[in-house]
Structure formats: structure tokens, C-alpha cells
């Protein structure tokens, strides 16, 4: 894969694409990314993204020199692919987990920091329910990451933290995102 380096800052971009659901379409849609020297970070199929049955919805995250972004967009469009959205919302994987235990006494902000400080995953929402003093509290965390591997690593960190802080973590079913 040719790797094009030009002056200008590298940015991470996410795109929602919609294309015909036929063989070769996805490969064809992604090809321009390498042609402009971009790096694909994640490709996520999203069935619910496509508006019609015969189309395929795909989210991609890529890294690209900012100055070549316009060129890339026209190249993708030239291949008959519809770009629904472009954004800097690079954290596409979302996972909900619930924690139970003495969350405040075990420094909740530290627990959250352990995920945030990774750089590849963030706790983007936290809902906390605190009953009477000395009773275990419960929290719902929404964690976002760039890719599935990053999510797995983030959850590994959280499980390790939970073990040392004696917190119960409730995750979704194996292999499911909620």
C-alpha cells in the first residue's frame, strides 16, 4: 500500500458511507483511502444505517492528511458511494457497563481516569445511583473507543481495576455491544 506523506496535519476522520449491497462495492469504496495515503483504522458494518434494503451502510474511521480530505471525498463519491456524514467523532464503538460496589470510597474518578488516560477509549457518560451510606452504589458507564480491539483493552483495564477495588462489573453478552 503506497503511503503518501505530505505537509499538513494528520487528522482522524469518521465517515458514514452508503453503497450498493453488491460484491466488490466495499473494497471499491475503500480503495481511494490508500490512494491518498490515508490509513484505515476501523470499518464497521451497520445494518441499521442503510435506509433501503439493497444498500449497505458502513462506518469507517481513517487517518489522513487534512489537506487531502476534499480530494478523498470526491474520489469516493465518483465511485457512486453516498457519504452520509463526515465528522471528527472518531470513537465509534460504544459499550455500556454497569458497576456495583463502593464506588465513591474506591475513588470513582480514578476508575474513570484509568480508561480516559489510555487515549484510545473514553468514558463518555456516567450515571450514578447512591442509596444509603455504606450501601453499595451502582453506576452505568458508557465507554467509547475507536476500534473493537481498543474496546477489549479498555474493558480489560476496567476488569483489573474492578478486581483490585472489589467492584462488580456487569457487561453485555459475549460479543455484543449495547
Amino acid at each position: 500500500m503506497p503511503f503518501y506523506v505530505s505537509s499538513g496535519a494528520l487528522v482522524q476522520v469518521s465517515m458514514k458511507l452508503e453503497m450498493k449491497d453488491s460484491p466488490g462495492q466495499l473494497v471499491s469504496a475503500l480503495q481511494p483511502i490508500s490512494e491518498v495515503g490515508g490509513n484505515i483504522i476501523a470499518v464497521i458494518h451497520q445494518r441499521d444505517l442503510s435506509s433501503r434494503e439493497d444498500t449497505l451502510g458502513v462506518q469507517i474511521v481513517l487517518e489522513i492528511t487534512e489537506s487531502r480530505l476534499t480530494e478523498l471525498v470526491s474520489m469516493i463519491k465518483a465511485r457512486g458511494v453516498n457519504i452520509l456524514r463526515i465528522g471528527k467523532d472518531r470513537l465509534l464503538y460504544k459499550q455500556t457497563v454497569i458497576m456495583i460496589g463502593h464506588l465513591m470510597h474506591t475513588d470513582l474518578s480514578d476508575t474513570v481516569d484509568r480508561i480516559d488516560c489510555t487515549g484510545f477509549a473514553e468514558v463518555t457518560a456516567l450515571d450514578l445511583a447512591m442509596p444509603a451510606i455504606n450501601e453499595p452504589s451502582s453506576a452505568r458507564l458508557i465507554i467509547k473507543s475507536v476500534s473493537k480491539q481498543d474496546m477489549d483493552s479498555a474493558l480489560d483495564i476496567l476488569r483489573e481495576v474492578a478486581k483490585t477495588k472489589k467492584l462488580l462489573i456487569i457487561e453485555p453478552l459475549e460479543g455484543e455491544l449495547v
Binding site: 456495583i100 452504589s137 456487569i170 457487561e171 453478552l173
Partner: protein, 328 residues
């Protein structure tokens, strides 16, 4: 053809089996019964009504006849072993079964202890003696999971299985979510309704579900799964708030047993699960989802416990044996 069975154990399951044999014309006669303190043997077939009424007032039979006597002396084709589960070493059921197999008798059991601990040993022994060991009733109550695995889905490869294998926990979680009950309140209610034992430890700590998971994993993959290798988390530390936080996101929490051999996952734990998922249902039902190469995904749902429901599984096994092998 008449099938002769000896029934060990006259608790809820044993009584249910006897009642159904008496009520339905299935071609099954009972030539021996035993509870923990007495037994009866009659080669021409016991009068079941009399056995059940004498059990109501105490012992089912003669105190001088033991379960061992029934196993070793009675004339029967199939030993129906439905004594209480001993998850520690499977005894005394394990010895009864081995002895019966040595005598060339088939085994039908609801006993999770010996099956979770010694399935391979029992199957090997039975193979040598040319008899069958069937244990449909050990997992999922009335759900014909073993028949489905062994017959309906024969030839499939199984990538994963996951399910709700403990009705008590499912009931408690349902009530915590629906009514905002605390764990202790929901457990008390389950006890009052007879859904939870006086000592609910096995259920709420996830051990019962884990034992069933071990049985399923060994049946499907023959992979030497054992209870100490299951990663177990119970439901006893769950809070009403946790259920509410899940429900706010159109999800809930269920105790799910999961086996994904490819990922090294053998686990029982409370999981967040979408409310529209097939494994989310109310009350004491059980369900098992199988992921297969040919059939795709299949979910079986049904009553996971109960006297007659479990008898359904036992009788299914008895009739399977009688239709597949010649009982002498």
C-alpha cells in the same frame, strides 16, 4: 412391549414420574422403587397408587429393602435415578448408576452431580456394556435440549451456547426489574412461591447454572469442562439501581451461562442484555441458544423445573431407549 423401570428417589421428580407412568398408558411398568430409607421390589410391576399413598405418610416401602437392594436385585431394563444432587462427589447416585450399568441396565437420570462430574466415565462404562445413559432432565427441565443436540441437530458443529439455566434467578431478576424490589425482597417472594429453596445458595450464586453449563459443554464438545473451570458470578450482589440503570437503556440484567470454546469463555454471570433479545423473558422459564454451522442460531425456551415438567424429560428418555434398543 413393556419397559420395566426401577425408580430411585421419591422427591418431587420421582413422584411426578410415577404419577405420569400411572396416569398415561405408556407401556412402562415399575418393578422397583426406593427412597432414602425404604424400598419395594415386584417383578410383575408395583401398584403405583399404593406406593404414592404410602409415601404420603412417610416411607414408600419396606425399611429392610434399601436403594442398593433395588439396584442390585430388582428386574428392570432402565434405572431411573432421581435422587437429590450431590455436587461434591455425585454419591450415592454415582455408585447406583455404575452398579446398574455393570448389570447391563440403561440409565435415565435427573441427577446433575454424577453427570457433571463423571459423564465420560459413565458413558465409557455404558459403552462397554452396550447400554445407554440419558440425562435430559439434568438441564433445562422440560426443554428437550439433549434430544435436540443428539438427534435434531446431529451433524452440526456448535460454535457457542448461551442461556438462562436457572429459573430462580430469572424470577428474582424479573421481579427486581418490574417492581423495583430489592434482591432480598425478591428472594423472599421466590421462597414463598416455592421457586427458591430454603438455602438458595446454589441458585443465586450461579453454581446450579454452572453445573448445567458443564453438562452441556461436555455433551457438545466433550472438552473435559468442570465446575472449577467455570468463571462464576452470582446475582446476590445486584442492586435495584443496577437493574434500573439497565432498563433506562432498553436493556435488563439476566444471569447468563455462556460457552464460547473458541474464545476460552466458560462463564456464568449477570449480563446486560437488550430487552428484545430472545433470552429475555419473565418468570422461571429457562432458555438455551445454540450457534451452529448448518442450522444457524436456535433458541429453545420452556419450563426449567417442576415435578411433571421434569417427568416429561425423564419419560422422553425412557421411551427413547425403548424405541432405540431392545429391552430384555
Amino acid at each position: 412391549m413393556t419397559i420395566r423401570v426401577a425408580v430411585l428417589g421419591l422427591g418431587s421428580v420421582g413422584k411426578g414420574v410415577l404419577e405420569m407412568i400411572a396416569r398415561k398408558d405408556l407401556g412402562i411398568i415399575v418393578t422397583g422403587v426406593a427412597d432414602s430409607k425404604s424400598g419395594l421390589i415386584d417383578p410383575s410391576g408395583l401398584e403405583i397408587g399404593a406406593v404414592l399413598s404410602s409415601k404420603k405418610t412417610g416411607l414408600c416401602g419396606n425399611p429392610s429393602i434399601s436403594a442398593n437392594d433395588v439396584v442390585s436385585r430388582a428386574d428392570y431394563d432402565i434405572l431411573v435415578e432421581v435422587t437429590p444432587t450431590n455436587a461434591g462427589n455425585g454419591e450415592p447416585a454415582l455408585s447406583y448408576m455404575k452398579h446398574a450399568i455393570e448389570r447391563g441396565k440403561h440409565i435415565v437420570t435427573s441427577n446433575k452431580g454424577p453427570i457433571s462430574l463423571h459423564l465420560k466415565e459413565l458413558k465409557d462404562l455404558a459403552g462397554k456394556k452396550g447400554v445407554l445413559v440419558r440425562y435430559e432432565a439434568t438441564v433445562g427441565g422440560a426443554i428437550p435440549i439433549m434430544h435436540t443436540l443428539g438427534n435434531g441437530l446431529a451433524g452440526n458443529e456448535f460454535q457457542a451456547l448461551y442461556g438462562v439455566l436457572n429459573g430462580t434467578c430469572n424470577y428474582i431478576l424479573t421481579r427486581m426489574a418490574a417492581e423495583g424490589l430489592t434482591y432480598d425482597q425478591a428472594l423472599a417472594e421466590a421462597r414463598e412461591l416455592g421457586y427458591a429453596e430454603a438455602d438458595p445458595t446454589y441458585d443465586v450464586k450461579g453454581i446450579d447454572a454452572a453445573i448445567k453449563l458443564v453438562i452441556l459443554a461436555n455433551t457438545i464438545w466433550d472438552n473435559g469442562a468442570s465446575l472449577d473451570r467455570v468463571d462464576i458470578t452470582g446475582i446476590d450482589l445486584l442492586t435495584t439501581d443496577a437493574l434500573r440503570l439497565a432498563e433506562e437503556k432498553d436493556c435488563t440484567i439476566r444471569l447468563i451461562a455462556e460457552a464460547f470454546p473458541g474464545r476460552g469463555v466458560l462463564r456464568v454471570s449477570p449480563r446486560i442484555i437488550r430487552k428484545d433479545h430472545p433470552l429475555v423473558f419473565e418468570g422461571t422459564l429457562n432458555a438455551i441458544t445454540l450457534e451452529t454451522d448448518m442450522a444457524g442460531e436456535i433458541t429453545l425456551i420452556g419450563k426449567g423445573a417442576g415435578s411433571v415438567e421434569t417427568a416429561s424429560a425423564i419419560i422422553g428418555d425412557i421411551l427413547f431407549i425403548s424405541s432405540h434398543v431392545r429391552c430384555n
